[in-house]
Symmetry: C2
Subunit: 259 residues, 2 copies
């Protein structure tokens, strides 16, 4: 089933380090196996370890009213889990839950902090990652507000496929509903629509992506936007236009007019 599995199973952030620094960093890392469904941090937990997934994927979750939960970010081999440490914090600001089982590099907080000081390329690299994460959160907020469940589901499946590096992965509709913050039946409807169009196939806790291109066409544009942000950062390439519906309603000139 895992047809798209890659040869190299490392983490892209760490790969981006200069070889010397990377070696020093890896010397203090342990390769661990994350179990699907395990909670890495509860909101407000003191962070003990940071994680750099290689095959696994982790969901960042925000909760309101003690029961409604929404996935606001996804971390795979392109990222890291425990971003608060990058910014000098001690506590996890969001719940982190292993969504796709698999391997991840792990380092304890103290060691990680030491590397942040001693490896000159590390902090800038991770700062850049934080800014990407920040943009992803903003995009998810808008996406969740404006896009229908079916398109959001398609986006989620594509994002997960990228991180699982496989066409097929284990997930129940109940879990998907939890991630997208909708009813399970909402997922049933959306998923069966996608299946009837032969974009995906699913059965009892497992989903296979059949046609990636058409699934991408069925997803909202947020998927592609996210990819662009990861690839090019926030340069002009990832620009999305956007104008106020009624410019007249805004007093004053549009550009900065401060003295």
């Amino acid at each position: 089933m895992s047809t798209r599995r890659c040869a190299t199973s490392s983490n892209r952030l760490l790969d981006a380090l200069p070889a010397k620094e990377r070696d020093r960093f890896f010397a203090d890392c342990t390769l661990v196996d994350l179990v699907a469904g395990s909670v890495l941090y509860e909101q407000g937990d003191r962070i003990r370890y940071v994680y750099f997934p290689t095959e696994s994927s982790i969901s960042m979750l925000a909760t309101v009213d003690d029961h409604s939960t929404l996935e606001v970010g996804m971390v795979g081999r392109e990222g890291m889990c425990g971003h608060a440490l990058i910014l000098g914090g001690d506590f996890a600001s969001l719940r982190a839950l292993t969504q796709g089982a698999g391997a991840a590099w792990r380092t304890d907080t103290t060691t990680f902090r030491r590397h942040l000081e001693n490896l000159p390329a590390l902090q800038p690299l991770l700062d850049r990652y934080v800014s990407i994460l920040l943009r992803q959160l903003a995009q998810t907020a808008a996406c969740t507000r404006f896009h229908v469940v079916e398109k959001r589901l398609a986006r989620w499946l594509l994002m997960t496929q990228d991180r699982a590096q496989a066409d097929s992965f284990d997930v129940t509709q109940e879990f998907l509903a939890f991630m997208l913050g909708v009813r399970r039946v909402g997922i049933t409807t959306a998923a069966s629509s996608l299946q009837s169009r032969k974009l995906i196939h699913y059965r009892r806790g497992s989903i296979t992506i059949l046609n990636r291109d058409r699934l991408e066409a069925a997803a909202c544009t947020c998927y592609r936007f996210d990819l662009e942000v990861y690839r090019h950062g926030m340069t002009a390439r990832a620009r999305g236009p956007g104008s106020f519906r009624h410019q007249r309603a805004l007093a004053g000139p549009i550009r900065t007019t401060d003295a």
Copy 2:
């Protein structure tokens, strides 16, 4: 009308700097007047100036599909606008629009970068601010998903009141609709509901908050949560519980079980 106006009209982030550093920073700042409706950055713009509002407030906006826009963050005297620079970036990742007219300290990018290197307290302070911003984005995503317009409107009004430091401020329903990503009529309904309960009073482009406590009770809990995050960061105090509706659906143990 502006009964709650404070004597000190400075910026809280800059106030938190040690006196010596603050003085050096202010020496290179200009106090400018932001005009309501002016766009400080378009998404993807190279950042030329950063802003530290004192009386003004700025909205950070995310756009999807070239027309649907959502306010994902608000910056007032408690924050700064141009966070990308803190993380070493050059480009604005979100649109920034002056929502409440007023004064702000401004510095150009080059000078700001120099201060980041030379003033030892600045970078840690702003890093902490970024992590707060990040948490605010996540909260907004969940809030936008789960809370009805009336509660979101109440939250928005409270947040704006805090930043305007006045009970009354100028804003049209059209603009509110734009911020919350809903129809103008949706605001009409919500606002007249709040007005009928004597929590606010409004007339033609201006809103007055009549009863702050009851308005807070009418707002979603996200308002209070935000305040806690600003006050205490992500320590245990700001913890919000949250459990999966059906724990059974998650395979494996709940705590981290990696080797």
